[in-house]
């Protein structure tokens, strides 16, 4: 019994770490620009697919990973410059449609540059399962959780200790005030897209050996990331991580104990129930509307 629960917890935490990274990407962009970037999932796809193909060309794994993250970062910055910035005056709904257009475009580009097949990335360090408390865990899951935690700590340090991080926080808090104290908010916006794309790509590379990757994996994982953000509370980084982990764990336990066909429904039922009681998510704070 216990070993089964531990098993579900492991797979939940692995998924949760990935969702948390994607959710953090959403949060970074939302805080800088108030845009919900529906192309976030495509960064995950680009990370995974680029790595698969670079490794296929015979590049060593670490180099392939670095290049894939760089490629996604570049695409993220291009997205901001070419699609989001020219439409700054547009309504929120229009911006959502623009990012949906971008995600369709990137998917189209991916199936053109690569193909429509499923691809597996070899695990970073072998695939011999490790036994813990009667349950088994794949080394790649440890990588996903470990790198996830490291990236979180790095982000924390970045926001708490560096001038640039503080400037990003200031812009998120009050764009006008940030501009008045001399922060280049347009650069901050670009940076948030770059960081967010890099996080997404990292998530995509970490999960590719476990769940396989293809040109169209972005939609589903982007959806889960968005759900995690809303569960935790829009705009809150801690909320994004909490939401991601809870969603991953709910999915794993729901699939294990209730029904694997309904595992996705399970997660969404939880989110809707939470929103009924806490209309701004778990850590979203109290609602206040300016008229």
């Amino acid at each position: 019994m216990l070993s089964q629960a531990v098993q579900f917890l492991f797979s939940g935490l692995t998924l949760g770490a990935i969702y948390a990274l994607v959710a953090l990407g959403f949060t970074l962009i939302f805080n800088a620009s108030h845009v919900i970037n529906f192309a976030q999932g495509e960064f995950v796809m680009i990370g995974g697919m680029t790595t698969v193909f670079l490794v296929g060309f015979g590049l060593p794994m670490p180099m392939a990973i670095a290049l894939a993250v760089a490629a996604a970062t570049g695409i993220g910055m291009a997205l901001e410059k070419l699609a989001v910035e020219p439409a700054r005056q547009a309504s929120i709904t229009t911006l959502i449609i623009i990012t949906i257009g971008a995600s369709i475009f990137l998917r189209g580009l991916a199936q053109l540059v690569w193909d429509k097949k499923l691809h597996a990335l070899p695990p970073f360090t072998g695939d011999a399962p490790i036994g813990i408390l009667g349950a088994t865990i794949l080394p790649q899951s440890l990588w996903a959780m470990g790198v996830g935690v490291l990236l979180l700590l790095a982000l924390r340090w970045f926001f708490a200790r560096t001038l640039l991080g503080q400037a990003m926080l200031a812009t998120a808090n009050n764009r006008m005030a940030a501009q008045l104290v001399g922060i280049n908010v347009r650069r901050i916006l670009l940076l948030s897209f770059a960081l967010s794309a890099a996080l997404g790509a990292a998530a995509g590379i970490l999960i590719a050996p476990i769940t396989l990757t293809a040109y169209d994996v972005g939609t589903n994982i982007g959806l889960k990331g968005f759900a995690a953000v809303m569960l935790g509370g829009l705009g809150s980084s801690a909320g994004a991580v909490l939401g991601g982990l809870l969603l991953g764990i709910a999915e794993a336990f729901g699939a294990g104990y209730v029904s694997s066909a309904y595992k996705d429904a399970f997660a969404f039922v939880i989110i809707m129930l939470v929103l009924l009681w806490m209309p701004r998510g778990l850590l979203g704070g109290a609602a206040a509307e300016r008229v």
Binding site: I36, A83, P86, A87, Q89, A90, S91, I92, T93, T94, I96, I97, I98, I100, G101, A102, S103, I104, F105, L106, R107, G108, L109, Q111, L112, T219, L223, F226, A227, M230, L234, S259, A261, Y262, D264, A265, F268, V269, I271, M272, L275, L276, P279, R280, G281, A287, E289, V291
Partner: protein, 309 residues
């Protein structure tokens, strides 16, 4: 002539003369699909464009309508009765779910409606004993007392008439005090409340109305194609519907029709590009929304008015 009457007349005449330009069954098929999408979008536009409440789950209502028709006619229920039953079920569900959901705002509302749509589509996919599961199920033709709608040409007129009726309903609603209340809610919920608008009731009303229109369109689509699959209730279909509304122009009934027609026809045109289809579609969607953030029709109307002065 009032502007609404002109719009309605324009649409009716357009639908009446279009068959002269439709050389074969394939073109009729595209026109029918566009008409079905337009019915849903006119309803959805009342909710998104006029009332300012987003829904990323309307394909769920469309799917429920379609499956209600498919399942009930399968048990020998007459098609019009099955269609009405589907509309009533969806209306009741929307009223029930709408009460708590519509208290949410902005992105949280988007999340809740998205969740609702996904739950509906998962239930349809999973309960395969009733729905045929991922493979979908066949649907009997739309008929009553031995008479039935068969063939593209007959369906074209059924869908065309339904679309004109839907647009007439939407135009009337918007011009009525209810329409003014909806626009007041879009402007500011608090201000509308202060002026005595029962915000929660009106939001629920328009949510139910748009859901029922989606369900009716779903029933028609199921009978027309003789087949339903869970994809019709899925997340991607919901996104397509919202995209059509925003593309054509929010808060413009004719815009919703134009958006639905263009985004139904465009993928058909782009199939000649084969592998480049998805790429082009995404680029066109992005480009149009960047250049015309208010949508196609409102932007063109402004340009037209400026050109006349």
């Amino acid at each position: 002539m009032r502007r609404d009457t002109a719009v309605l007349l324009l649409l009716a005449v357009g639908i009446a003369v279009l068959p002269f330009a439709l050389p074969n069954r394939y073109f009729y098929d595209v026109a029918i699909l566009a008409g079905i999408n337009a019915i849903v979008c006119v309803g959805l536009n009342l909710l998104i464009g006029y009332t300012g409440q987003i829904s990323l789950g309307h394909a769920g209502f469309f799917g429920l309508g379609a499956y209600a028709s498919a399942i009930l006619t399968g048990y020998g229920c007459p098609a019009p009765a099955a269609m009405a039953a589907g509309a009533v079920i969806v209306g009741a569900l929307a009223a029930l779910v709408g009460r708590p959901i519509l208290r949410l705002k902005g992105h949280y509302l988007a999340m809740a409606t998205l969740g609702m749509g996904i739950i509906i589509s998962i239930v349809i996919t999973t309960e395969d004993r009733v729905t045929g599961g991922p493979d979908g199920m066949a649907v009997a033709p739309f008929g009553l007392l031995g008479w039935s709608v068969q063939g593209e040409e007959a369906w074209y007129w059924v869908i065309g008439a339904s679309l004109v009726a839907t647009v007439a309903l939407a135009l009337n609603l918007i011009a009525s005090p209810v329409g003014r209340a909806l626009r007041a809610i879009h402007g500011s919920e608090t201000a509308a409340e202060v002026m005595g608008v029962d915000v929660a009731r009106y939001k629920r009303m328009v949510f139910v109305l748009s859901a029922v229109l989606a369900a009716l369109a779903g029933s028609l689509a199921a009978h027309y194609s003789g087949f339903v699959s869970p994809a019709k209730a899925g997340f991607m279909h919901s996104i397509e519907l919202v995209t059509m509304v925003v593309f054509g122009g929010m808060a413009s009934t004719l815009g919703a029709v134009v958006g639905a027609v263009l985004l139904t026809v465009l993928p058909q045109l782009l199939t000649v590009l084969k592998d480049y289809e998805l790429l082009m579609f995404g680029a066109l969607l992005m480009g149009t929304m960047i250049l015309m953030p208010r949508g196609l029709l409102p932007t063109l109307e402004t340009l037209w008015r400026r050109a006349r002065i």
